[in-house]
Amino acid sequence: MTEEVNWRRFEALALPHADAAYNLAKWLMRNDHDAQDAVQDAFVRALKYMDTFRGDNARPWLLQVVRNSCFTWLKENHPAGLTSIDDEEGALEIPGPAGDEPHAIAVRQDERARIDAAIAALPFAFREVLVLREFEDLPYKDIARIAEIPIGTVMSRLARARALLRDALAPGARPVLREVPRPTANGRA
């Protein structure tokens, strides 16, 4: 009975959020393979602990499990990627575009790539609150639970993330950006 109910609830409450889970994992892990592994791992755990979930909106709960999978994996494999939050006043370093065409042309040609790159270049702690807010439209209290930080910290990290993005995306800001090697947490070149 329990197992049957568990997996029916899993099917009804967890599976519909596969897209949200993968989107978060992809933004946190920054590569497809690791993101898929993290989502698999998270859903296995979600199924196992389905009976501990109360309520009818499993999305924040599930995203918390996904976030933990990603965080644990990154801590073991790329701890440096998680510590860059100390560099709070540093300029946002956007990876240069592939190939050797002039930066400005690449930027004009692909606004989406530019926005994606700016978000991907955010330190982990800023990136996770931003993704949860802008892609999932979650309220601060849910973001606080998922990222395991106080609501006041959600507020300050979001404000900081937006300031970094605004600077990175402002047309006049482009010349001051340096081209840097892609972060090590990014598995693909």
Binding site: R8, R9, D19, Q36, R112, L169
Partner: protein, 268 residues
């Protein structure tokens, strides 16, 4: 929310997210009314938010990942289904009420012993409805005060519907109203009843009407009209969707608008 922002940047950021408490929200609006540079900063933040929401890549789960997640659960057997129904009587009351809430159709299987539990659930639902009415009105008021009534401004439901569907785990019915003096302003994603919901916004003369929609299980129910803090409300359940409509229209006009929403929706 009780947490106060530390800096002006945090304050503005929380403001555009609608996360300031109502008093701080109004105070900031008053301030912005007389401060051009503050207004520009707020506009700037809204533009940034919009360009991220519309311009960044949403990574949907690849089909093979979806498939392998669906395979995590074992195949359902007929025997397992039968035993789950037979097992209801042995289950703790809390688990049963959760189970019933989750699968209301199965209520027909309920044993006599469950009547008390159901009564409890009904009472809890009554309380929940009151809270929901407050939340619906608060959301409507917050949006109209914040002058941010829609995330997607379009009078064309062919534009609004896909926009909302892409951001929700369901596809809401989106209709324009064929009433004189009625304008469809667009939609936004809001948060009610512990989940993201679709909010469709109409202007009827000088009044705003917000129609909230989200999926719900349960029996179809005709509109129940109510009155909350000076606003008219109506809610009903049809086609697997919960509907809550709220406006500052007067009672008669409000009923006409609700009828129009229901007719348009039935005609789809």
């Amino acid at each position: 929310m009780t947490t106060k922002p530390d800096t002006q940047a945090e304050r503005l950021s929380a403001f555009v997210d609608g996360e300031l408490d109502l008093q701080s929200h109004l105070a900031l609006e008053r301030e912005a009314a007389g401060d051009e540079s503050l207004r520009l900063r707020i506009e700037d933040l809204r533009r940034l938010r919009q360009s991220i929401r519309e311009g960044a890549t949403y990574h949907a789960a690849p089909p093979d990942l979806q498939a392998s997640l669906a395979r995590l659960a074992p195949e359902r057997s007929v025997a397992a289904r039968a035993s789950s129904h037979a097992g209801v009587g042995r289950t703790a009351a809390a688990a049963v009420s959760r189970w019933l809430a989750w699968r209301p159709l199965a209520a027909s299987f309920a044993l006599v012993a469950l009547v008390l539990v159901s009564a409890d659930v009904t009472w809890l639902r009554g309380r929940a409805q009151e809270r929901l009415a407050e939340d619906v009105v608060a959301s409507h008021v917050r949006a109209s005060l914040g002058q941010h009534v829609v995330d997607i401004a379009s009078s064309d439901h062919h534009t609004v519907k896909p926009w909302l569907s892409a951001r929700l785990d369901f596809s809401p019915p989106v209709t324009e109203l064929s009433l004189p003096g009625s304008t469809f302003l667009g939609g936004r994603v809001d948060y009610l009843d512990g989940r993201p919901v679709a909010a469709l916004v109409y202007r009827q003369g000088p009044h705003l009407v917000t129609s909230f929609v989200w999926p719900a299980t349960g029996e179809e129910a005709d509109p129940v009209f109510g009155h909350e803090r000076g606003f008219e409300t109506a809610h009903w359940l049809r086609g697997g969707m919960n509907h809550w409509v709220v406006s500052d229209l007067n009672r008669n006009e409000f009923r006409i608008v609700v009828d129009a929403i229901r007719q348009q929706e039935a005609a789809r």
